[in-house]
């Protein structure tokens, strides 16, 4: 079966593998065996990729070995064109990388969608870039070397979503635990893309590799079986091994899978773009380099290769408006996004730093990038370009060259972890450092490794140091991650920030704080002493409204209508929320513009209500100074109120419009036009809905009370603007509620309107109390009365009376269960009514204990006779005049519905005395008359 005579450099290896496959097949059950096909195919893929005219550089994400090989290859080959597997529309962002501290993520963001389901909005794609990556080396080389062109060839971000299936897909799951903490959430819910995604495409293969590799997660497997052996390998070996692994994962994947189709389409896309570029630019393919994931290097699409002729139609982009920017990223965010084990990216960064130091290669670096450049010692002799030779056989048949125990490094780790553990509250000692050292080596031996990997060290540290888990304390595993490089959080430089973010930083400069720092900083604004800080304060309040809760947090000071703080104190964590600010930058040029847009969008929403619109008006006044925006939003509030068919929001509407009216009356000469329209529209609207609301079971008594509150509270203004009181009166007459609480509310309303006399109200209530069948529902009536305080505060004495009677007469089984509800209802729904009630009660009830015994409630002390006391009449000129023309008085009395009859004017004893006194002191009378007439 040997096919060692096959042509090409890999003929021998192919033969060897086929022999091995045949040997395995002999052991197993019969039937068609796909193994020879897969093994031979892998060799063919390697052969094909290496023979391709355009040099293909296979990479894997976050692989220091890839980065190192890339650096060496670039230094040696000095290509003039680099094709990179990255969304082509992200190209302009790459130039901005030099202003940033890595890791950062390139972001494409769209809120205005075209041809995508509206539920997808906002669309967000992030492509994180770390320093320990091959793509960064390629980017840095291309941007720093004159005459080198960097061409991104992958589909655009628009195509990323064009090619997404329209049906909701299963959420993706990674094997790494979900990252927690705010660093891990730096990317938000964006779709992540990365260069060189190289991982088994189905779970069983990965589980199998992990199981037999005796490792816990994919990152560890990769590190042990690919990364470590390849770090020191020459370019030919590196390339062949990477393509082979890419080919292996490609051949061992589910046959029909949407993801496969997308991958192949991407390959077609990239090759088509590269051919187009070569044809247009006339570049020499020999001076070009194509950097792509190893998975794509082993591609078998018909468009593969420069000589391929197969066409591929690239669909045009949709009209979706994409915005581009850089956002800060972090190692933990990358791990969380791509399902990598916690700490793996940090460990990769540490490995990269070490590999750079040991190999003596000078990595490429963008000028102006923050951080100190890596020192290098010597140049490694370059790998000569030559014919392809088989390096795979050697790699596959021999164990990696011994990379002895780096005792010094391990010792350093052991000492440091103990120190770090002690600082974090663990009882760790030097004895533990020794134990960790010993255990690491034992573990590595047990796991068949020549030297402990960071993962062995981590296990050893956990075994020897961690005795208890204390909530809130960092566990030892996390401490090891910190020790081995820790989570690094990137930062977008000032120059690369969108105008809005720069504007925010500029305007906050008077605070004198370095807002790019990731710590929480305290800002103290003494607005009285330094009025120049007022614009800062205004901006901070807008940021407070737009950013997540903990980005800017007021410690002292508040912003409400009618308030003007003289001192404010803030906790600012703007540096930590750079992403949120950058994303605000996609919405507008200034922060005020973004807020205005958001407010307008909120009120234009089909689900918006009048309460929402009034809130927007309030926000516009608070944060944007009112003006035209507030008027526009107010006009929308009027339209919304008139169109509303429910009164659920009535309490909110009442509260807000009251506040707004108070504000406008206090600050301006006249109410804005929309306010007037709102009051008249509201008056008519609520009058119309009142009868329905009274009987509707779904409408609560609180809502009805709020409607009445609006009607009574705004009546003066409404009547002055042309409304008619009879509309309200009619509405009340039309209301016939059945629910006890609403009945009580209606009585109170009628009393307030003068439709029901106070005594009639009292007697109705007394009848209720006297009726044993109604007693259980008395608390409901009381609830209605309490709510009546809202529209009719003047009824407070009556309500106190009503409640006192209830407390006095209701049996305990009815009263006691209701009391807690009364208190909670009052506290939740009508906190402003409680003081009114309490003040009135304080006025009625005796203040001291002894007085209680003698106290008779005023309502019992009231004379029972309803006949009004005779009006004292007196003789004199007026009485004489009235008595002289009785017809006029009778006509007026008849008009008013009164017929009290005529009584003779009696000049009482007091009257005579007054007359005598005045006659005796005529001078005084004259002097007073002169004084009055003067």
């Amino acid at each position: 079966m040997s096919e060692a005579t096959l042509p090409g450099p890999f003929g021998a290896l192919r033969g060897q593998l086929l022999d091995a496959a045949a040997a395995f097949a002999g052991d197993g059950p019969g039937g068609a065996d796909p193994v020879p096909g897969i093994l031979a195919g892998m060799v063919d893929d390697v052969d094909r990729a290496l023979r391709e005219e355009l040099e293909i550089f296979p990479v894997c994400h976050h692989s220091p070995a890839s980065a190192l090989a890339m650096t060496r290859r670039l230094r040696e080959k000095r290509p003039t064109v680099i094709y990179l597997e990255l969304c082509e529309d992200l190209r302009p962002l790459l130039d901005e990388l030099r202003n940033c501290r890595l890791p950062v993520a390139l972001q494409a963001f769209a809120t205005e969608l075209d041809d995508f389901p509206a539920t997808w909005a906002p669309l967000s794609v992030v492509a994180p870039v770390t320093e320990a990556s091959a793509e960064y080396q390629a980017i840095a080389y291309a941007l720093e070397t004159p005459g080198v062109e960097l061409v991104l060839v992958d589909r655009s971000t628009d195509h990323v979503f064009q090619w997404e299936p329209r049906t909701p897909a299963e959420p993706a799951t990674g094997d790494g635990p979900e990252g927690d903490g705010e660093e891990a959430a730096l990317h938000g819910d964006a779709v992540g893309i990365e260069i060189g995604d190289l991982r088994p495409r189905f779970a069983e293969l990965e589980a199998h590799l992990l199981h037999h590799g005796k490792v816990r997660h994919w990152s560890e497997w990769w590190d042990q079986y690919v990364e470590q052996p390849l770090v020191g390998a020459d370019y030919a070996t590196y390339r062949q091994v990477m393509v082979m692994i890419g080919s292996l994962f490609r051949r061992l994947r589910p046959a029909r899978d949407a993801r496969n189709d997308r991958d192949e389409d991407r390959e077609r896309y990239m090759w088509t773009r590269m051919r187009e570029h070569l044809a247009a630019s006339g570049a020499d393919p020999a001076r070009c380099l194509y950097v792509c994931g190893a998975f794509h290097a082993a591609s078998r699409v018909e468009q593969f290769g420069l000589r391929a002729q197969a066409p591929f139609e690239i669909t045009p982009r949709t009209a979706t408006r994409w915005q581009y920017g850089l956002i800060p990223s972090s190692h933990s965010a990358i791990e969380a996004q791509f399902g990598l084990a916690p700490g793996s990216v940090s460990i990769a960064a540490a490995t990269w730093a070490k590999a750079v130091k040991r190999s003596g290669v000078t990595p490429f670096r963008l000028k102006g990038q923050e951080g100190k450049p890596k020192a290098s010692r010597a140049r490694r002799p370059s790998d000569p370009d030559g014919p392809v030779a088989d390096r795979l056989s050697g790699f596959l048949s021999q164990p990696p060259a011994p990379d002895g125990l780096d005792e010094e490094e391990l010792l350093g780790w052991c000492v440091d972890i103990v120190r770090l553990a002690r600082r974090n509250g663990y009882l760790a000692s030097t004895a533990d450092a020794i134990a960790v050292f010993e255990t690491s080596i034992l573990l590595a031996n047990l796991r068949g490794r020549r030297r402990p990997t960071p993962y062995d060290f981590q296990d050893a540290a956990v075994t020897c140091i961690e005795k208890d888990t204390v909530p809130g304390r960092r566990d030892v595993r996390r401490l090891c991650e910190i020790l081995l490089g820790g989570d690094r959080v990137g930062q977008v430089g000032y120059e690369s920030l969108p105008p809005l973010a720069r504007d925010v930083l500029d305007r906050l400069e008077p605070l004198g704080l370095d807002l790019t720092r990731r710590t929480i900083q305290r800002a103290l604004l003494d607005l009285g002493a330094d009025p120049g800080l007022r614009p800062c304060s205004d901006l901070l309040w807008v940021l407070r409204r737009l950013l997540p809760d903990d980005a800017v947090r007021p410690i002292m000071g508040s912003r409400r209508l009618g308030e003007r703080p003289i001192q404010e104190s803030w906790d600012l964590a703007i540096g930590r929320h750079q992403r949120s600010i950058v994303e605000l930058g996609y919405e507008g040029v200034t922060i005020e513009q973004v807020l205005e847009q958001r407010l307008r969008r909120a009120v234009a929403d089909p689900k918006a209500t009048a309460a929402v619109a009034l809130e927007a008006v309030e926000d516009a006044i608070l944060y944007l100074g009112g003006g035209r925006v507030a008027d526009d939003l107010g006009a929308r509030a009027v339209a919304l109120l008139a169109a509303e068919r429910t009164v659920d929001d009535a309490p909110d509407v009442l509260r807000r419009i009251r506040r707004l009216l108070a504000h406008y009356r206090a600050t301006g000469p006249a109410l804005p036009e929309w306010c007037e329209r709102f009051v008249t529209a509201g008056y008519a609207h609520y009058c119309t809905l009142l009868p329905t609301a009274f009987v509707d079971e779904d409408t609560g008594v609180r809502q009805v009370a709020a409607m009445l509150g609006f009607l009574f509270g705004m009546e003066g203004l409404a009547l002055s603007l042309g409304c008619d009181h009879s509309q309200l009166e009619l509405a009340v007459r039309q209301s016939h509620p059945e629910a006890p609480a609403k009945v009580a509310l209606l009585w109170a309303t009628q009393t307030q309107l003068g439709l029901l006399a106070l005594d009639a109200l009292r007697s109705r209530y007394d009848d209720l109390l006297a009726n044993p069948l109604v007693v259980p529902s008395i608390p409901l009536y009381l609830s209605g009365f309490v709510q009546a305080l809202e529209p009719a505060p003047s009824l407070a004495p009556v309500i106190v009376e009503v409640m006192s009677k209830a407390f006095a007469r209701l049996p305990d089984p009815v009263l006691l269960p209701w009391l807690p509800r009364l208190i909670t209802t009052l506290r939740e729904q009508a906190p402003e009514l409680v003081p009114v009630l309490v003040r009135e009660a304080g006025r009625v009830f005796p203040a001291s204990l002894p007085a209680v015994d003698a106290w008779v409630p005023p309502w019992f002390a009231r004379p029972s006779a309803t006949v009004p006391p005779p009006i004292p009449t007196s003789a004199g000129a007026v009485a004489d005049l009235v008595a002289g023309h009785p017809a006029a008085c009778d006509a007026v009395a008849g008009l008013l519905g009164q017929d009290a009859g005529w009584r003779a004017a009696t000049g009482g004893a007091g009257q005579d005395q007054v007359t005598a006194l005045l006659a005796g002191h005529g001078d005084t009378g004259h002097a007073v008359a002169a004084l009055v007439t003067r």
Binding site: H211, H212, K214, R216, L427, S429, A431, D432, A435, E438, T439, L442, L443, N445, L446, R447, G448, D459, A460, V462, T463, C464, E466, K467, T469
Partner: protein
């Protein structure tokens, strides 16, 4: 020999496997270990084809590989091993397997209780011999730990945190100086530990705070925390493994239908989820809902079917056993089970494939009715 014991220790039960492993083991062995660390791991976790062995070694402990590895290397180091975890997570079983593999003796056990004294850890005296012959090594009764020291084997201390702190501290000198002095004797009054001696202790994390370990003792132990198994697949493996063993021990020939096993695992998973979301202790079952508890439920159901049923395991019986095992407090546990039965099992039985759940539902209802 195993036929004469109700429960043979691991070294007896797997004697043949251990002999074979010892014969093929060519790896370096620490101290006087009978197997190299890799072979110990192989013995505990079972063999793969890729290990290249001529015979298959069965898996005996199910859980994360790294726990076993960390335990083995701890025993090869200077420190003692403390396995800590919820009840029923297989701590003692792992300790037994490790001792059996390392020194072929897992019976050097001290059981920690509130009544454990320092004598149980060090030595005590045969009073009548002392009266007859005076104090000598002959009249001394060494504890299992001391015997392990003399033999250079592994001593085990079960439920370390159940014994009082002062008694626990007797281990400090044993673990650091590696000898026990016997001041009552004038000569030959020190027992030195031979190479290979170490201690495996187990502690129940639910007993935390009862008798906390002193810092000095903590320092001399490496802690390996064994979590409750939550992966359904490995839990299924464990339940199957242990049940087969139990059936063999009871000489019962009875099949556990896979659907019933599924029902059991799913019910426990649901109950665990409910316990995790409970806000107070009254809202969760007193039971830890460990894998051992599942095995207990299954064993109970099997025995019930064998002796009082028609020798077929039925869903009703399983439900009865589950309710009977988990309802420990009345009325709290009963109320939780009642809620669980009607809120989770009942909807499940109404689904398309809910036929086996129907019988389970009925059985549970009956059991709850009897207990209420």
């Amino acid at each position: 020999m195993t036929d004469e014991m109700l429960r043979a220790p691991a070294e007896v039960k797997y004697a043949e496997e251990l002999d074979w492993l010892e014969s093929v083991d060519d790896g370096p062995k620490p101290f006087s270990w009978r197997l190299s660390p890799r072979m110990v791991r192989l013995f505990v976790l079972g063999s793969e084809r890729s290990d290249g062995l001529d015979r298959e070694i069965s898996q005996k402990w199910f859980g994360d590989r790294s726990f076993v590895e960390r335990s083995i290397v701890t025993l090869a180091s200077d420190r003692g091993l403390l396995l800590i975890g919820d009840p029923g997570t297989g701590k003692s079983w792992l300790a037994e397997l490790l001792s059996a593999a390392i020194c072929r003796n897992s019976t050097m056990v001290v059981q920690g209780t509130a009544g454990t004294t320092e004598d149980h850890i060090k030595y005590s005296w045969n009073v009548s011999m002392v009266i007859a012959k005076g104090q000598s090594r002959e009249s001394m009764i060494p504890s299992p730990i001391m015997t392990a020291m003399e033999q250079g084997t592994i001593g085990r201390f079960e439920e370390l945190t159940r014994s009082t702190s002062d008694v626990q501290d007797a281990l400090i000198s044993i673990l650091s100086e590696k000898y026990v002095s016997i001041p009552e004797l004038d000569a030959d009054n020190i027992v030195f530990a031979k190479p290979g001696f170490s201690i495996i202790a187990t502690a129940n994390s639910r007993d935390r705070g009862v008798n906390d370990l002193s810092s000095a003792l903590k320092r001399r132990f490496n802690f390996v925390r064994i979590p409750v198994v939550t992966s359904k697949r490995s839990e299924e493996e464990i339940v199957k493994f242990r049940t087969t063993e139990l059936l063999r021990r009871h000489r019962i020939d009875l099949d556990v239908p896979p659907t019933l096993l599924d029902i059991l695992l799913q019910s426990f998973a649901d109950l665990r989820a409910a316990a995790a979301s409970a806000t107070s202790d009254d809202e969760k079952l007193e039971s830890a809902l460990s894998t051992a508890e599942q095995i207990g439920v299954l064993e109970d159901a099997i025995l019930h079917s064998q002796f009082f049923g028609d020798r077929t395991l039925r869903a009703e019986t399983l439900a009865g056993s589950l309710v009977g095992s988990l309802a420990r407090r009345s009325p709290e546990d009963l109320a939780i089970l009642n809620k669980f039965w009607h809120g989770v099992i009942e909807p499940r039985s109404k689904q398309d494939d809910g036929a086996p759940w129907q019988a389970f539902l009925e059985g549970g209802r009956q059991a709850l009715g009897t207990l209420s």
